[in-house]
Symmetry: C2
Subunit: 607 residues, 2 copies
């Protein structure tokens, strides 16, 4: 499988793009003309640079507005073609993308278009170049792949074939099965892009919102099956125009691109990548804070017990029910900050999952490791969170947990009491984590959680925040009665105050959240105050028992309901950008209380 | 004229929104329910707060999904309505917006909808409330204002009328003239929003891309004329959902909103605002730099002569042709920066223009003023640029220029030679200024330049930059042979490097740009190097004379052509984010060389 990427997919200068594509493991590039025009490298130097990097140049693009023209216009096209053929000769590439004409005054005459394409193909052939004709979805006259094929077929010219672009084909809703009628050798090139179905004008959609395969809503695996069945044997090349990717780091975007292609290959050729089951549970979350004391107070107040301390590192283990929190007391890089620095993912096959991550070019996390410590594979998510791939053996205290010898009375390390003050355990386990993503890596993060970790993707939500819209997407693995599954909400917040609005949180599942809040309050924990107007609205929306409603109000609990069940939840005041949510799911409620997010975010902002 | 604004138009907390609306001079607000739900103020406290601020509460909104329902569903609606009527009682408002139902299973039966609206209106009437029914453009069954009116008319209920929303009406292309058939007293409320025509799905368009009147593409003046002709006498209220405004400063957005309404009123009632002719010319540009020396070198190198020094301030006047540059040698707030700090706009009626700006709530610029200096009105543009409204009397050296006594040999201030080294003047005047705008004030800036200064608006361009898209919009006043008119390009740059990509520049019109470049080079000025590939592409696109092309290449001049003429231009290397463009317009070319911007920006990035 030959893998290629168009230089337009990446941000930065042409040399930076080429280096990033090579580093990500691509075999070839498409040179996007504006990238060539703005580099001081001459075409022959670009050719050399690519050769040095082991990159082929599989396509030069685009050659626009070339057919359906009057004779004088077409004469100018041939002049332009000659110049581009010379450039391609210097570049050392032999395939030119010709887009269908989009000009308002294109002449709607297939035989004229064919005649002009043949003249161009003759000229190209003399220069050792072939032309790949592509129907743009907004082409004036030719805008479907079947129409383009009809014309190319009628030309019957060895130097003229099709360029297939999944965006243009799938955006118009064309059934890729009709490609079966195109001979494989006439499909000169294949460009792949996904896109979210967002109801935007075709041109805008294509220019700004394309995404890498698996990041949008198109069925690219089905598309590839049709293309391969029709006999296509050329490179798989990514061509994505995306406003966000252009602004992102060149090297990591190239890796994200390669990952998307590898996953698509796996969908089409099962077994192409190491398989691994999705993790079943978050077995721990590690918090780091510049000043750990407020978190110590919070964990104690919520009924956690400090049960262990790391063999060699200043990290404490706190437990309650199945919830385990590691508290890194060594400080945090951001002076006022606090963060979920790492999470442990419980999996039956850590090594398979690590192998899958490596095959998908996920960086291994850098972590100091001392003799005597257990070896736990650890990878770095796009947002920088370290993800430990663990098998927790609680009964024998094996695996990672063996690095945290049980604390006994008298061995309390930094002086905090081992056992929290009395009362029974209210927290059952970690229900979910809400993790803030860098805005330009959101799509990458979704693909990472889905395709590397095997989590299921839920729809994107846009939630109103007092200062803009807050984007949130849940990723989950299937749970069971014993294990709740992994639930992660990926969030991106608007400007201007990412610290507050994008606050990360850990949501803890409680047996009885009302009792949990009462206990925590008694131990001095403060919760986010919810406005009285919120409860008036609850009463208007749901027929709630008066007593129940006043209990919600007293405990500052928020409430949501869907067809499957109910959610009761509340938030502690934040420590830096971090807070803890306590929640209780009743019946089969599987959401995250999104309806309550605007009020919660507004109160957090105002706090 | 009663002026109102919906709280959803502004970002921030409800108290901040109310304060900003009052400060901007609004008479009333619409309370958007989510704003009420997330404030700790009880409804009665919101009522008091509004009363203290002199704001009425003209509408409570929205009440959704209320009609076309089965009996049990409708029973729940009546329960919800009762609760909201109680809230409105406490708020002290008597008008509720009821939106047409958007649910998939809405029953498409006008008589059922009418029946349910009448039941709601009965209940509302008992509570002293009226209902304003609005057809959402994406309503499931009722989605046009004529359909909504047919139903409201059939109800014939005193507590039931229409809410007109310019977005929903104009987005669907409805002719507002049909409102003539609606009696004025049945138009209970009017909501105004503009929007750019961008080919987005109706719902997304409405939720994210509305703008204030005059900032989009709708004919709101024509719409208002129809509405007034039909007999509407209620408030003019702004209801704008816009992702960018939510993130912007609350107070300045409120002022921008008020300005848009005042301008709309002026369109409908000519004479409502002080009139002023558009400025004819940029009579000076003031540059400030942390270290002025590189700018001194640049101006000398470009053939400018230092001709004056301010009476009291460390500001030098440099001149060449009609181009005047003030160089502030006192430093600049940004240590490494440089900026166009102020511009002088030549106008026959500075006082009228200042009065118009004041009426439109443009802040007067803070500027120290010493005795003996001329008094020149100065206002502050949304991007912070100070705009002096000047009448330049060169012959008598009157007006602002009188503050810059002519320098004579021996009176050279800080030691730079008064007269640049020989050679004739090549620069004719200031052709245009490119000014970087804060991204969240772009629409406000366009409206400011159009409606306060009277400049004409050109279409928005999205230009590819190596790290994203660069948005640019030209604003111009009509020129003449003697005076070129004012030309300003407002730019917004993408992340991550606003300093470079968003660089401001001053473009100087040259008699013969080739001679100007040669002279400047001889004096040591360095120009932006343009890649050779750019010239190969020029040769492919245009049939250019070989000698001419090699001259362009030698002088690193860029070239553009349209039906009216040609442009030759080039850029000096940047001083901080600032550079100078030299250009020559041939024939009637009126553009700004946008086709060359991607290459220029890429080279500036790489430099």
């Amino acid at each position: 499988m030959r893998r290629a990427i168009a230089t337009v997919c990446l941000g930065g200068t042409l040399p930076a793009k080429l280096a990033a594509a090579a580093a990500a493991g691509f075999d070839a590039v498409e040179i996007f003309e504006p990238d060539l025009l703005s580099t001081p490298l001459r075409p022959a130097q670009v050719r050399e640079r690519c050769a040095d990097l082991g990159l082929g140049i599989d396509l030069y693009q685009p050659f626009r507005d070339a057919e359906g023209l009057t004779p004088p216009e077409f004469a100018r096209v041939m002049h332009r073609l000659d110049a581009k053929l010379e450039t391609m000769h210097q570049l050392g590439t032999d395939l030119l993308l010709v887009c269908s004409n989009v000009a308002r005054d294109t002449i709607a005459d297939d035989s004229l278009t064919a005649e002009q394409l043949v003249l161009m193909a003759d000229r190209a052939q003399q220069a050792g170049v072939r032309l790949a004709y592509e129907a743009l979805a907004w082409g004036r006259h030719v805008n479907t792949v079947d129409h383009a094929w009809k014309i190319v077929e009628s030309c019957d010219h060895p130097a003229l074939g099709l360029c297939l672009d999944s965006f243009h084909i799938l955006a118009r809703g064309t059934d890729p099965a009709l490609l079966a009628s195109v001979p494989g050798e006439k499909m000169f090139f294949l460009q792949l892009a996904d896109a979210p179905r967002i109801g935007v004008d075709m041109l805008q959609w294509s220019r700004h919102w394309r995404s890498f395969p698996g990041q949008g809503d198109f069925d690219l695996a089905g598309f590839m099956e049709s293309v391969l069945q029709a006999g296509y044997t050329g490179p798989w090349s990514l061509e994505v125009f995306n406003d966000v990717f252009r602004q992102a780091d060149t090297a990591s975007t190239a890796i994200d691109a390669m990952r998307s292609l590898l996953i698509l290959e796996e969908q089409v050729h099962p077994g192409a990548l190491p398989a691994a089951p999705a993790p079943q549970e978050v077995c721990f979350a590690e918090l780091a804070a510049a000043d750990p004391e407020p978190l110590v107070g919070l964990l104690s107040g919520l009924g956690f017990t400090r049960t262990g301390r790391h063999l060699n590192k200043p990290v404490d283990l706190w437990e309650q029910g199945r919830a385990r929190i590691l508290l890194n007391t060594a400080g945090y890089r951001d002076r006022d900050g606090a963060a979920v620095a790492a999470i442990g993912l419980e999996t039956r096959e850590p090594e398979s999952l690590a192998a899958r991550a490596e095959a998908l070019k996920v960086p291994a996390a850098l972590r100091r490791h001392s003799p005597g410590e257990s070896r736990v594979p650890c990878v770095e998510a796009p947002d920088g969170t370290q993800m430990f791939l663990c098998t927790t053996d609680v009964s024998r205290r094996g695996g990672w947990i063996a690095d945290f010898p049980t604390l006994h009375q008298g061995n309390t390390g930094t002086g905090t009491a081992v056992q929290a003050i009395g009362s029974e355990e209210q927290v059952i386990g970690i229900d979910h984590l809400a993790l803030t993503q860098p805005w330009h890596r959101f799509d990458e993060a979704v693909l990472f959680h889905r395709a590397v970790l095997g989590l299921a993707v839920h729809p994107t939500l846009d939630l109103a925040d007092p200062y803009g819209l807050f984007r949130s997407r849940a990723m989950t693995s299937a749970g069971s009665r014993e294990q709740p599954g992994v639930r992660i909400a990926l969030n991106v917040a608007p400007a201007p105050d990412p610290h507050i609005s994008a606050g990360q949180h850990i949501a803890l599942a409680c047996r009885d959240v009302r009792a949990a809040v009462r206990d925590a309050r008694a131990r001095g924990v403060s919760f986010l105050p919810i406005p009285g107007n919120y409860y008036s609205d609850l009463a208007a929306r749901f027929a709630l028992d008066e007593e129940f409603l006043s209990e919600l109000r007293e405990l500052q609990l928020m409430y949501d309901r869907d067809d499957a069940g109910e959610l009761l939840h509340c938030y502690t005041l934040s420590v830096g950008p971090l807070c803890v949510e306590l929640l209780q799911r009743v019946g089969g409620y599987e959401g995250f209380g999104a309806a309550n997010a605007p009020v919660r975010l507004a109160v957090q902002h105002a706090a």
